[in-house]
Symmetry: C2
Subunit: 279 residues, 2 copies
């Protein structure tokens, strides 16, 4: 697997770089970004935090707006930000911002036309970490975080691969997609109308079925315009109780759904991940 570097910029003593590569699982060229802290060398590889972004995002939103690099440099953590869907002229799309490109929902689509490319679950779980571990001075120790649709991705991927990650965190996650409009629309198109098949990509359903051995930190702004209809963090707490899983859910007064919210608490999430990545 080869990589083409698209950009690089020194930041906080480390490096932000964007790459493109041919994804075998997504059947298209993909772009991702990586932050490498200053101490990342072949002799001293570092652990990786995978960041999954929300609807309409690319690899750039978090990297440009989260203000995460000073803390990640201090802690010695690499950050990888993939794109949010397959891309390219040959990839199926939809006019809605919440379906198709920019809205991969971190699942493996089974329905045409989406099934040709939309396998973001496999890409995040297998293909991308393999690529990262081949090409960069990182260890196999990793954790996962994300925002909104990416918070759904972090929770579901982390819960289903508890041996692969050390910790899960999320900002404003879609906790219960089978019970909100964004999730119901996406799952109907990507997975079909048999709702039994949706359960495997719903963090609440996963938590009801199996406890999490991974620590989970969730921040949610109480002034988030999507809170009641789309995000439903109370459902995540209820589900966690059913499997006796402890989740730290912090309702943050006055904060909305934007990257200003993420910027406000990203350092605390990095400290949380650091505790578990280096334990």
């Amino acid at each position: 697997m080869s990589l083409e570097v698209l950009s690089k910029a020194k930041v906080c003593g480390g490096w932000h770089k964007q790459y493109s590569h041919s994804s075998s699982r997504l059947n298209c060229d993909m772009r991702f970004a990586i932050f490498l802290p200053p101490n990342a060398t072949a002799d001293t590889p570092v652990p990786v935090l995978y960041w999954l972004s929300g609807l309409t995002c690319t690899d750039e939103n978090f990297m440009q707006k989260a203000g995460a690099f000073a803390k990640a440099a201090e802690l010695g953590i690499a950050i990888v930000a993939p794109d949010t869907s397959p891309r390219g002229d040959d990839v199926a799309d939809d006019d809605g911002y919440d379906l198709g490109k920019g809205a991969g929902f971190y699942l493996n689509a089974t329905q045409a036309p989406w099934s040709a490319n939309y396998h973001m679950y496999d890409y995040i779980v297998d293909e991308l970490p393999t690529l990262i571990e081949q090409h960069f001075p990182v260890t196999k120790v990793k954790s996962i975080s994300g925002h909104s649709m990416g918070g759904h991705g972090a929770l579901t991927i982390g819960l289903k691969n508890q041996n692969s990650y050390r910790a899960i965190s999320a900002f404003s996650p879609i906790t219960n997609p089978i019970n909100c409009p964004w999730g119901q629309k996406a799952f109907t198109h990507y997975l079909g109308s048999n709702k039994e098949l949706w359960l495997d990509y719903d963090a609440c359903e996963l938590l009801k079925m199996q406890a999490s051995s991974l620590p989970i930190l969730v921040d949610q702004g109480d002034a988030d315009g999507f809170l009641a209809e789309q995000l439903k963090p109370e459902n995540l707490l209820d589900a966690a109780k059913q499997s006796n899983t402890e989740i730290t859910l912090r309702m943050q007064p006055g904060y909305d759904h934007s990257y200003y919210f993420i910027q406000s608490f990203i350092n605390e999430h990095l400290d949380f991940h650091s505790t578990h990545l280096f334990s």
Copy 2:
């Protein structure tokens, strides 16, 4: 003078807000953004750092990408980010990214068609601070900073109004616009062909004529693609010597012209301004 709020988001315990207002000096509606730290109240007003952005920018680039709010909240400093030119359908423009909208160069244009609206110097020096001090819990204590074209703006406005500011800083400033392509193009259009009239907007020429009583901090990346042709920080040092002004110019190895560079050192600039805003 009235303000219309366009957006607001809580961030780092404070607030980021965007406003529009009718500018009498620019003869158009203008947008600006303000960050108010959590301790800014009518009873405890805070000092203000004015941030001037570079070519093609609006009020949003710094606010979204600099990662400045955690530190500004801690220090108790408000930040105001104006737009970089007059705006609107009735405002003269040019196809080039370095002339017209997004490229006001923080001067008062004297040549048609620019002279109808392009009075960014007066706007930054007088109209905007008056507006800010009327509407927000801030003191009259202020300092100024900026990037690239905005670094030119911060240096020239600070040097010409030394009683109005406590400190000047700049990232990658256009230090000597009369001797670089960006400046020569802009000044020819905005100020005409008489180069004597350009000197008043050139930081090097200003520093040759008069020492600065204000502390000046400049950061410049040595991997900046615009360094040799457009920015010329060595000319600023030479000019400062002629008036026995001390300037702290830090050449930062490996850094480019992007906001990743700004994000890397903004906290040090905020500490620098804080020292002088609260002295």
